[in-house]
């Protein structure tokens, strides 16, 4: 007689990752910084677990099919500014995973209503040629200035990105050692607006340069951030596109981590950092698993790390205060992703204007731009003076379009502009209006972007950024504002900017740490160095040539 025993089976059908486990290092967040830290430390022989909340690693390195079905977009980072200098790209052979960088000469164009255009190019003289149409004097100034700034970047700012931050006074002393350093010091105290208006006379030229300088969130009128003017302008002339999409960089790093024995747990949210006797000893995941480790690295923003995960009650007073006072980015980005029947063709006769990596439009001069930014800071958007930049991604990358042959000619582009998180009236309400205004503006500057040619759109507002990445609070693409007291050795605060925190066992190393946001490869690299030192493992990597030279010239003797 057969008897029914229920669906219980003696064998488990799916052996799973264990509920409790021990590691050397746990890293919270698989954005570029978490990935870089994990790759270095796993290769150093440490047992590393990298934990990511989303179903896909990469954080801001996200290439996803949001124009569904069939079209991939780089929904966050697309312009890679530090490819020339990032140690991670020198220390790892990511090319073997098929990582290919494209650095177009035509880096950016700015187009105007009357059909004029300005170019920003990798080769300095091409930009100068373009500027000469507006002002010969500005063209010459540009050639000469950029040549010197390039040296400043190569010798100082680029290598310093990957070396722990110093106090302003120490920096001043160090920079005085050379002429290049002294020139940089002269820049530091000025605001972006001062620098641009002092150097250049033509309004359109000023507008184009200032846009590139402030695009990542520098306040044009803030003094004390002058060094970023040189840095951004040089780097905005050297942006790279990651063929196949930015996610490829994440995936390549992911492979390095896994090949070195590291484990990646995606679709796993860290709910809290486990504290024992004042020390950070592990993490609890929402799904119920617990992981313990000697060192825990958070790449999240300060409030998530310290208030939500550690818990305000576990923080020393000074840390608590500085964390609570943390200022998130003053502006975020709103992006309209579009599938169109044709690649946008902009007004200028100069075809280079339509073929550059990034096309800026909407501003006829610097005043409009400043007014737009003031609006954004005040939580407003006046679409009549709003401008931004667009990129036709599929022009650079055939891999982004995966549709039937009768649609294969279609192109994927986006338009992006600075935008407040707290928009007056709310994004849910105002979003459709803004989308409409963007499309109208686009069609004005690129007449073939008319309604009939638009196949599909998808707008990612600052609120959406935060929904995808709760650590990008208020849509903060850099996890926190760029202002002098949140930069350098004050990022995120003096106690944590060297990557260790006042809480033993806990380290920070995301965009809210020195050197800051964007895909710089900086804080992930620095925190890996710090943790390797503290855990006493041998570093298998050496500083890059530029870093060694910088250290020798400025930091030694």
């Amino acid at each position: 007689m057969m008897e029914f025993k229920g669906y219980q089976h003696p064998q488990s059908y799916f052996p799973e990752f264990p509920p409790e486990s021990e590691w050397d290092v746990i890293i919270i967040g698989a954005g570029p910084n978490g990935l870089i830290a994990a790759a270095y430390l796993a290769k150093a022989g440490l047992k590393v677990a990298l934990i990511e909340r989303r179903y896909e690693i990469g954080g801001g390195l996200a290439t996803e099919e949001i124009l569904f079905p069939g079209y991939y977009s780089n929904i966050h980072a697309i312009y890679h500014m530090m490819v020339d200098y990032m140690p991670v790209l020198q220390d790892f052979d990511l090319g073997r995973h098929g990582l290919v960088w494209i650095k177009p000469n035509l880096q950016a164009s700015m187009v105007f209503e009357n059909g004029e255009s300005l170019l920003l190019t990798r080769m300095i003289e091409d930009t100068a040629d373009s500027i000469s149409k507006f002002s010969i004097k500005d063209a010459q100034t540009f050639s000469r200035t950029m040549g010197r700034w390039r040296t400043i970047i190569r010798e100082i700012l680029a290598p310093a990105t990957f070396i722990p931050p110093m106090l302003p006074i120490e920096i001043t002393m160090a920079l005085q050692k050379t002429d290049v350093g002294q020139e940089l010091l002269e820049l530091v105290e000025q605001s972006p607006l001062d620098i641009v208006t002092n150097l250049f006379e033509n309004d359109k030229v000023r507008a184009m340069l200032l846009y590139n300088i402030c695009m990542w969130g520098l306040d044009p009128r803030e003094t004390g951030v002058g060094l970023f003017v040189a840095l951004y302008l040089d780097r905005m002339m050297n942006k790279c596109y990651c063929q196949g999409g930015s996610h490829k960089m994440a995936n390549s790093l992911g492979r390095e981590i896994v090949q070195a024995g590291g484990v990646i747990l995606d679709s796993s949210q860290v709910n809290n950092i486990i504290m024992e006797g004042g020390k950070a000893v592990g993490v609890d995941l929402w799904e119920g698993r617990t992981l313990r480790a000697k060192a825990i690295i958070s790449t999240l923003d300060p409030q998530t790390t310290f208030v939500d995960l550690v818990g305000g009650e576990n923080l020393p007073v000074s840390l608590k205060e500085s964390v609570e006072g943390w200022k998130y980015d003053k502006w975020s980005l709103n992006t309209l992703h579009v599938v169109s029947e044709e690649q946008p063709k902009y007004l200028p006769k100069d075809q280079w204007a339509s073929e550059s990596f990034m096309t800026i439009f909407g501003f006829e001069g610097m005043d409009q731009m400043l007014e737009h930014w003031d609006n954004v800071v005040a939580g407003k958007l006046d679409t009549s003076i709003m401008g931004g930049h667009a990129t036709c991604e599929s022009f650079w990358d055939t891999h982004l379009v995966r549709v039937p042959p009768d649609r294969a000619h279609r192109q994927v582009s986006f338009f992006q502009h600075h935008a407040p998180y707290n928009l007056e009236g709310g994004w849910e309400q105002k979003g459709p209006e803004i989308e409409e205004a963007i499309l109208q503006k686009w069609a004005k500057y690129a007449p073939n972007m008319k309604k009939e040619n638009i196949v599909m759109t998808n707008q990612e507002t600052p609120v959406d950024i935060e929904i995808r990445f709760p650590n990008m609070r208020y849509g903060s693409i850099k996890h926190g504002d760029y202002k002098p007291i949140q930069l350098g050795c004050f990022r995120p605060n003096q106690e944590c900017s060297g990557n260790a925190t006042p809480i033993p066992g806990l380290y920070t190393g995301g965009a809210s740490n020195y050197p800051g946001g964007c895909v710089l490869g900086g804080s992930g690299y620095l925190v890996a160095n710090k943790v390797a030192e503290d855990l006493g493992v041998t570093k298998w990597w050496k500083p890059t040539k530029e870093m060694e030279k910088y250290t020798k010239t400025y930091l030694e003797g």
């Binding site: 669906y7 099919e65 290919v100 549709v403 039937p404 998808n458 959406d464």
Partner: protein
């Protein structure tokens, strides 16, 4: 840049099966290169977040693979594999929901449940549920000179051993319905099971595949899976574990690398040539031991190898392989309120909406649906209240793996419905995917049919609909010709020792040395993410001396080594 690259094995396509094969071979210590055309691997195991905070599953949803030897052999847990609930928990016998008919939800009678439990090996001591599944899917077809009959076909051997009363010669001629008729009374329950089989591998009404059809269903019901959902991270999370297993064992996997040609020299596959826009300097890569195609069988032979190396008779057979019946129209609904069942579909243990299978009513409706999709192959003209479909609801996912984190919204789906394969659709390939107006039409059709069981599927509530037609699927994912989720269907002439054709049934290609097939369309057991093709293929690769697995390997107990080859049974040597 143009330095010559060589690997032991090159695999075309990083879908489920290409990746599984890569993981196995890398674990054997071979140098393995996988080349994937798309920006992301995983093939049809994918998740998309089309708007912030909303996840959809355009393709695979349920993890049917619970009985795979791969879990033990590849140790996916080491690479982060997790289900999104505890698979070890006890599932009470009464299935939580029965089939839905126009009247309401049907409570399955206990005797019908017992009948089902009996034929799927859940009764008695010991239970033979896993053995039956493994014998059906996880065993390579026998060498061509072995007679396939009631004594040699693996699942028949399992019945013979564990439940001789089920073992009859006729079973090999039965349809699934014939088999169910003997053990189950309710017509609706039978139609329900057959429909799950139709969307899981083999058809309820095809003679000769009764057991495979039943097993396709058994592998997605408890205890093989406790809820009809997949792993943490959904099916793409399962893929991640496989992919990371391959990578951790040394495999190189590259995306955005479309293979344009499999290079054949002197009757041997020696390498591949990539399309010019592949993200790599070097477009020609060589394989020392084997090239394995994880791409659909039709482009593999018709394009990547081509008529240069193949005769017209063989090519004709490839052209004729059937894509029919595998095309699913997938729909997700974003709503402001949680969907609610109509009164007659409410179930005491389930307050909230969690999907279901609709219009699983009787044979008449079954035939009405299949006649349209398989017979006339014309656009759906079935009244929405008689359309057959299945759907997953949000509550099927663990709370700690929410599918929607957009406050104030709910995502529901996919709702999947069989539709005619575009290539054969008498209304044209674009018939169900001809621009926005067409999408709107089919969206409305899906809303209407969903409304049969849901009271608030109205335009106030539904904010957005994502639909993925078979035609779109074919190009989003080049593995899915015709959007066919199983590649080639599993009818008598395209299953087991006939899959995809007799001469290709053991994953080898006659007259081309060093070439093997691992796409679902080209290999037994076909569709579903079972890690089965890779496991089965391993037997053949061992036979051919391509790889030598370590002590972690065990072969299928029903495997018959081919004469003159090295046995895949460890220690047996050449037979």
């Amino acid at each position: 840049m143009a330095k010559e690259e060589r690997y032991d094995v090159i695999i075309v396509g990083a879908g489920h099966n290409g990746t599984t094969t890569a993981a196995y071979l890398a674990k054997c210590g071979l140098s393995v290169l996988v080349l994937e055309e798309r920006p992301e691997g995983g093939g049809a195991q994918e998740t998309v977040e089309p708007i912030a905070g909303v996840r959809i599953q355009p393709h695979a949803i349920g993890n049917y693979g619970g009985s795979a030897p791969g879990w033990e052999q590849l140790e996916l847990w080491k690479y982060g594999f997790r289900m999104d609930y505890d698979p070890r928990y006890e599932v009470p016998f009464d299935t939580e929901r029965g089939p839905m008919t126009r009247e309401g939800t049907l409570q399955v009678a206990e005797e019908d449940q017992m009948g089902w439990a009996k034929i799927t090996g859940l009764l008695g001591e010991p239970m033979f549920h896993k053995e039956l599944l493994r014998a059906t899917f996880w065993t390579p077809p026998h060498p061509s000179y072995i007679e396939n009959d009631e004594n040699t076909i693996p699942y028949m051997q399992v019945f013979k051993q564990y439940s001789p009363d089920l073992w009859t010669k006729e079973l090999l001629e039965y349809t699934m319905f014939d088999f169910l008729d003997q053990h189950i009374k309710s017509e609706a329950f039978k139609v329900f099971q057959a429909y799950i089989a139709n969307v899981s591998g083999a058809f309820g009404h095809f003679p000769g595949v009764a057991v495979p059809a039943v097993e396709c269903v058994a592998t997605v019901l408890p205890p093989a899976v406790a809820k009809p959902v997949a792993s943490r991270g959904n099916m793409h999370g399962y893929y991640h574990a496989l992919f990371r297993c391959a990578v951790a064992n040394g495999a190189t996997i590259r995306t955005c690398c479309p293979v344009e040609e499999i290079i054949i020299e002197h009757g041997r596959a020696v390498g591949v040539r990539l399309r010019d826009d592949a993200t790599l300097g070097n477009k020609t890569i060589y394989a020392n031991k084997a090239v394995i195609s994880g791409a659909h069988i039709k482009p593999t032979f018709l394009k990547l190898i081509g008529p240069k190396h193949l005769d017209a008779g063989f090519l004709q057979k490839i052209k004729d392989l059937s894509l029919k019946g595998g095309s699913l129209y997938m729909t997700h609904f974003l709503t402001k309120e949680q969907l609610r069942y109509r009164e007659q579909y409410k179930w005491p243990s389930h307050e909230s909406f969690n999907g279901g299978f609709y219009c699983m009513e009787n044979m008449e409706i079954y035939w009405k649906n299949l006649e349209c999709v398989l017979g006339r192959q014309s656009n759906l003209d079935i009244p929405p209240d008689e359309a057959m479909w299945g759907m997953v609801g949000q509550t099927n996912y663990a709370e700690s793996q929410p599918q929607c984190t957009r406050e104030g919204y709910y995502v529901n789906g996919p709702l999947w419905m069989m539709v005619p394969t575009p290539e054969y659709n008498v209304d044209g390939t674009l018939a169900m995917d001809n621009g926005p107006a067409d999408k709107e039409k089919w969206d409305q059709y899906m809303v209407k049919t969903l409304s049969c069981i849901v009271e608030n599927a109205d335009s106030d509530n539904i904010v957005k609909i994502w639909s993925d037609s078979p035609w779109g699927q074919e190009f989003r994912n080049t593995g899915m010709l015709g959007g066919s989720w199983y590649g080639t269907r599993c009818d008598r002439d395209e299953w087991w020792n006939e899959r995809p054709t007799q001469e290709l049934a053991r994953y080898r290609v006659p007259d081309i040395e060093g070439l093997y097939l691992c796409h679902q369309s080209a290999a037994h057991p076909g569709g579903l993410c079972l890690m089965a093709v890779g496991y089965n293929l391993m037997h053949i690769l061992i036979e051919d001396g391509i790889c030598e697995p370590g002590p972690w390997w065990y072969e299928s107990p029903w495997y018959i080594p081919e004469e003159g080859k090295i046995s895949a049974k460890p220690g047996q040597g050449r037979v």
